[in-house]
């Protein structure tokens, strides 16, 4: 059974209304622009998939990537740590108008919740947010004389990931700091969909260099010379 798809549209065909979608990337580094925009195009053409919960560190910048999803009206809720950017208008306007929900999660807690989701750990305790608004309503406990807050795992229906190399068995490498949340999200989603700059044969990636093992990857599509979100924004993309 091949995981390699020849078209982006086919690779994304499992995404339905109301799903939770983890999207890799931190700012522009690692944002799977081609996957996101194919999904936006499908929504504009067919009205689906809408009502999505999107999980990312940020909440879009300018009018590309996640911001384009928000402008299109297909996002019901963002789960993120930092819904600000150099140009956060898409999210800010929708949020202040009450058109989009926000679950604010401290960045390290977001990463660990996703890791826990992928690792089969339903909850864990962290010192982060103890004594703050973020901890209100959550179970708390003392360990070795210090207070900790219980946080629950975070899973998703789908993860959209940008990798550098992928082999046909799903093993992935990433480029520089574009790695960020992607290896965690690949573990935590029922279906992990990867755009890779190059798809190679099994064995072409040295097993010592594999960052995400293929067991976490379901669908791969090659996108050679992918767009970089920050470069697009600085190039004046609308």
């Amino acid at each position: 059974m091949s995981r390699v798809y020849s078209s982006i549209e086919d690779a994304l065909d499992c995404i339905r209304d109301g799903m939770s979608v983890m999207i890799g990337g931190f700012g522009g580094a690692g944002a799977p622009i081609e996957l996101i925009h194919a999904l936006v195009d499908r929504y504009k053409a067919t009205g689906s998939p809408g009502n999505l919960t999107v999980i990312n560190n940020n909440a879009g910048n300018g009018a590309v990537g996640i911001a384009a999803m928000i402008y299109a009206g297909m996002v019901a809720k963002m789960v993120c740590s930092f819904p600000r950017s150099t140009d956060p208008k898409a999210f800010t306007d929708a949020y202040l108008a009450g058109k989009i929900g926000l679950e604010l999660v401290p960045q390290g807690t977001l990463a660990e919740r996703i890791r826990a989701g992928g690792a089969g750990i339903p909850a864990f305790y962290t010192p982060t947010s103890y004594g703050t608004q973020i901890a209100e309503g959550k179970p708390q406990a003392e360990f070795d004389g210090r207070m900790y807050v219980q946080e629950r795992w975070l899973k998703a229906d789908v993860a959209l990931i940008k990798a550098d190399l992928a082999d046909r068995k799903g093993n992935l490498t990433f480029r520089k700091a574009a790695r960020n949340f992607s290896p965690l999200m690949a573990m935590a989603a029922k279906t992990t969909i990867v755009q890779a700059s190059r798809v190679v044969e099994p064995g072409d990636i040295d097993p010592e260099h594999v960052v995400t093992p293929g067991i976490f990857v379901n669908r791969i599509v090659e996108v050679a010379n992918p767009q970089q979100e920050e470069a697009l924004l600085r190039g004046g993309a609308k």
Binding site: F26, Q107, T109, K176, N180
Partner: protein
């Protein structure tokens, strides 16, 4: 009244960076500290988005936007740098592996409580990595003006704004003084030489304790 510029506050904080330290500098003002690191001291900088040992910004036109810091600014790598995913990055933070984290502040309380993420209702809340950073590093420093833009104290008995962390700050470098937080109190370490203790206290809500005579806070013109 004369007070230190942000660059001078950053310079003063940089003088306390321990040799061999792993350090996370918050987005914005704290990032300036790197510029003033004393010669001969080796410091390894951590950024939440998965790099250890990044260096200065590249020349304009040579940016690689997959090589950025937590402020989404382009950086370069020093020899010996490494990449890692976000869960490992915050294991470094929460696991107590960082020596120093430096943040900005809206308010600091005498027990070390910090408020720096929310000015209350009516804005879009954004916390980023601050709530994790304040609970991981061995030392948590704040760099800040001593008072707000309209002259009100920022060093308080209790924070009024939503907290980032409880009892987490260890030292505050302000535009007027260097203050350590010891046993739930502000302990004045250094103050501007032109200023009396009473003058400084008048701009500080919580009581400044003094152990002997505070040293003069002396920084170069920058």
């Amino acid at each position: 009244m004369k007070k230190l510029s942000n660059a001078q506050i950053a310079w003063r904080a940089a003088q306390d960076l321990p040799d061999g330290a792993y350090v996370n500098l918050g987005i914005g003002f704290p990032e300036m500290i790197a510029k003033f690191k004393p010669e001969g001291r080796e410091v390894v900088y951590h950024t939440e988005n998965g790099i250890l040992d990044f260096g200065e910004a590249p020349p304009a036109g040579e940016e690689d936007w997959d090589l950025i810091n937590a402020g989404k600014k382009a950086v370069t790598l020093n020899p010996g740098a490494s990449f890692f995913h976000h869960a490992d990055s915050f294991a470094m933070v929460r696991g107590g592996h960082l020596d120093v984290a430096v943040l900005g502040a809206y308010e600091v309380a005498e027990n070390g409580d910090l408020a720096n993420w929310s000015t209350g209702p009516g804005s879009v809340p954004a916390v980023g990595g601050a709530m994790d950073l304040v609970h991981g590093a061995k030392q948590v420093w704040v760099v800040t003006d001593h008072v707000t833009k309209d002259g009100k104290p920022k060093l308080l008995r209790q924070c009024r704004l939503p907290l980032t962390g409880v009892g987490c700050v260890t030292t505050v470098f302000t535009s007027l003084a260097v203050i350590d937080i010891v046993d739930g109190h502000f302990l004045l370490r250094e103050k501007l030489p032109g200023m009396s203790l009473d003058e400084l206290q008048a701009l500080t809500e919580a009581t400044l304790r003094v152990n002997g005579t505070p040293k003069d806070l002396i920084v170069p013109e920058l």
